[in-house]
Symmetry: C2
Subunit: 551 residues, 2 copies
């Protein structure tokens, strides 16, 4: 047998032609709306961004043929992978070449550091063609270097001047786009002539607002996780013997978990934002889980599924306080470090914590408590991301159920399995939705560049309509900003979008969750992403987006 | 928004009509081959199965219309879930109804215990239609009760007589089919008139032989795991900072791991059967891994993927011996149980083990050693399935790399992430291959029943050809049997198919693995199972099957 180089789907998928909004298919004319304001702190933001504040919204419409001077652009992938990143670059490349065949595109390597360290390649048709409709960020690599210092910006100017680059496109999340905005302002102030355009990327779905309906990658990642959750639910419903505790990526917001719940209808789904709003303790969360488990056990059903957002414990006010006290208490604490046994350390910590935090500490399973005190990062901080919240909850639930059993108020059997899904979805082959959306975002960026715009985020809206009806344009990044405290200082940043408890997706969930948790299972089995076949199977946006845009 | 009851794919997939071999599409004539022999221990097997030994192979061909008397069948799902189980039942139902509209099908509930406890439902068109082409075993549930005692068989006779059931179809793995064969023999001896037909099920792929080319579910499960492995590889190749240690289901054989490696081409793949054949120690396995990690680090690549079969440590002769010694040593050992601290227990165990096993015990990370001595099942046995082998290997690899770094022979960075995939694939929506194969297996069973056969396994062969050319028929289960020691007694059992080191799949792997592990990545990204679209994307059998049948 001949060695395989690519899978059949990789080969077939290479020839997919992403759908574009009608306005981008031919000649484009740019329409400017009214001047904009930032979402909050207008005076501060205006002062900080004198050159890029208040610019109008931009939309594109079909127009007459227009000649654009040749430009060169450089593109950067910033932060965690999200399905569709390659198609942003493909759309950008195709758009630039369509607007002027002499346009050039460079890729800075391994994230923002490529701009600073002058690591780059020219992106040719041969290279770009290899990556059409594929997952991953491997075309130029990504990285987490933050562009925050003037010397970095100046190193960027240097390489742009050398290569004749007129514009930089930064594909990233809220932080990277905040930095893109600062960079745009700096380059305007310094009159470098270098434009900066942002693109909204993150599987977490927390970069969105009135003009950015969703970040790319959220659709595909949630569909991959939902496929797996559905499969596990079918297994639970067949084997009838396990409770599956499934933790899902997404530390700062619960959009992924909520969307997966809307797609698969598990018995229980925890939303961090609700836990925080209700000021719940970890025991409260456990009690909520217990209620459903006990109810189902009364009907002979000792199995089910529970979705848990990765960031949960940081949203529990009491645990947050405990972690903060531990960080203050144990960083460079020689007395503590001198103690010999785990038990001595445990007692020492208990004695030093505030009474409330000591109580929370006592309530934690020993393994977790130990992890909080012993596994610390180089700065002495608790490594929250290492805590396997799903195992923590299994342990606490099992303990509580054992008590209830002893008291006679629970007669079921409890066996649990744990799962964590994250890396399985960040580099999946983008869904048709994400393939089309990202290609359109990249194409839109090429027009913004050719029109000489800077400080804008590429925006494609009306996303629950067919792609032909999508509205492409640009949104001033300053419009999304407010002032927030970061590392003790007030900074201009893009507002992070958490799950809104009064928003349609959460409201739909809140209305139906009781029935999902009862003895009649409401499991849905989404199955794997389909790229071919009926449009209702292949081209659906997320439930979150459908609910948010429902008339 | 209206509540969702089913996903778009569930709705679309319901109307898929599985492909059948041409011979089964119209009237069928049964062809008998020569008499058969068991694979080994012919005299013993013949003595134990006087009524069902030596029966001929059966194949079906297109024939003339034949009238069959009405029959009733009962179907049982036995053991772990595998994609396609529902379609076996659908094929069986459709076949029975096509052969005689008065035929009936009952389903025994929750596995073999349904037969014994007289729990059953009649399977009607309305019920069956709800489950066409779906994953899971929830139509009638499954269970792990073993049919091994005569009183169980007699309880079965009782309910079959009551319902007028002429035949029982047992859908299960090697053990369940062994029991099906014993049951067939018993019913023949007792002249109950109840036939027994088996169906080859298991995602593990270890029920196969000359006449059974593959067990159903293996195709779909491996494709789901390979999708995830591919996604993780794309992530590894983009982020360039993690080694992903991925453990895959399959305790008794490494077919799943090997097939996933053939589909995704990871940097490293461990095959338990090879480890055993080479008499490797755990340190040898670690050294093999280290070689690849160090080589890639020398080229600046501090990332990669490693596939690990779930059953690995039970295949390592030295660990197997250690576990066996621990089981003998610690079961009901009051001296040990009276010890107070973990350290005392550790020392006690070390003192009692053979020198060789004590050395292995010392070489294990403390957490694992503790798990081996403390986490024991109710019979006092080590719970091997709880051991997270991927974490064990990460710990041992990290330790070894730290030594090499201190010695100056390794300069890389090692960060690892762990994954375990099993429950994610057992109930996936069956691939076209599994949907067609299982439907054909069920349909074949209906003909075997109507032809009055017993002690046969439903067999569909020539599986790498288009479904129309598949060869349907029956194989005497005694043909697959030999004598093996089980719980100290010689028993007739179906030979379990392990990975053959001289077989084509392993040989292909062995030939290419070095290049997969080197600095040029050979990753393949299979993507999710597709049900629509080009046939080369949607209808491919496994690489294992393609290699095994390559001319």
């Amino acid at each position: 047998m001949k060695p395989m180089i690519k899978s059949p789907l990789q080969i077939a998928r290479a020839s997919y032609q992403p759908k574009l909004p009608t306005a981008l298919k031919g000649n484009v004319v740019l329409k400017e709306g009214a001047a904009t304001e930032s979402v909050a702190d207008q005076a501060d933001i205006k002062t900080l961004f004198p050159n890029t504040y208040g610019m109008p919204l931009i939309s594109f419409e079909a127009g007459v043929k227009k000649e654009y001077p040749a430009v060169a652009a450089g593109v950067i992938l910033s932060g965690g992978q999200a399905p569709g990143g390659h198609n942003v670059i493909c759309g950008l490349f195709d758009g630039l070449k369509a607007l002027n065949p002499n346009n050039k595109l460079y890729g800075f390597l391994a994230g923002p550091s490529g701009l600073v360290d002058h690591n780059y390649i020219e992106l040719t048709k041969e290279i770009v063609d290899e990556y059409r409709n594929t997952g991953g960020f491997d075309i130029i690599g990504s990285g987490r270097t933050k562009l925050e210092e003037e010397w970095q910006y100046d190193k960027g100017t240097e390489i742009c001047k050398k290569l004749g680059i007129n514009a930089i496109v930064i594909i990233g999340g809220d932080d990277s786009n905040t930095n893109a905005c600062v960079l745009a302002e700096y380059y305007s102030q310094k009159k470098t002539g270098i434009q900066v355009i942002g693109c909204p990327k993150t599987i977490d779905g927390d970069l969105k607002n009135e003009m950015i309906e969703t970040s790319f990658g959220f659709d595909t990642a949630c569909k991959v996780y939902s496929e797996l959750i559905g499969n596990i639910q079918r297994d639970a419903n067949s084997a009838k013997k396990y409770w599956h505790f499934i933790r899902l990526m997404g530390r700062s917001a619960s959009h992924i978990t909520l969307e997966c719940a809307l797609q698969s209808q598990p018995n229980i789904c925890i939303v961090s934002e609700e836990v925080e709003a209700k000021n719940q303790t970890l025991n409260d969360v456990v009690d909520d889980i217990i209620k459903v488990i006990v109810h189902r056990a009364e009907h002979g059903l000792n199995f089910g599924t529970i979705l848990i957002p990765e960031g949960l414990i940081e949203f529990i006010p009491a645990v947050k306080k405990l972690i903060s006290e531990l960080n203050d208490l144990l960083a460079h604490n020689e007395d503590f470090n001198a103690l010999n046994t785990d038990e001595e350390k445990r007692q020492y910590v208990k004695g030093m914590l505030s009474p409330v935090s000591a109580e929370v500490y006592r309530s934690l399973p020993k393994g977790i408590a130990k992890q909080l005190t012993l596994d610390r990062d180089p700065h002495g901080n608790v490594q929250v991301s290492l805590i396997e919240t799903e195992k923590l909850l299994i342990e606490m639930v099992a303990k509580r159920l054992a008590q209830l059993k002893a008291e006679g108020s629970y007669k079921g059997k409890f066996s649990a399995l744990n799962h964590f899904f994250g890396y399985e979805g960040r580099c999946a082959i983008p869904s048709n939705f994400d393939a089309d959306y990202t290609y359109s975002l990249g194409y839109t960026a090429s027009v913004l560049i050719s029109e000489g715009k800077t400080g804008y985020m590429s925006s494609v809206r009306n996303l629950t309509a067919p792609a032909a009806e999508w509205i492409a344009g640009g949104v001033p990044i300053t419009m999304m900003m407010n002032m927030e405290k970061r590392h003790g200082k007030m900074k201009p940043v893009i507002q992070k979008a958490l799950v809104q408890l009064d928003g349609a997706p959460f409201q739909y969930f809140a209305k139906h969750r009781e029935s999902w948790g009862d003895e009649k299972s409401s499991y849905i089995y989404p199955g794997p992403i389909q790229y071919y076949g009926p449009t209702e199977v292949c081209d659906q946006p997320t439930r979150t987006l459908l609910l948010e845009q429902e008339k």
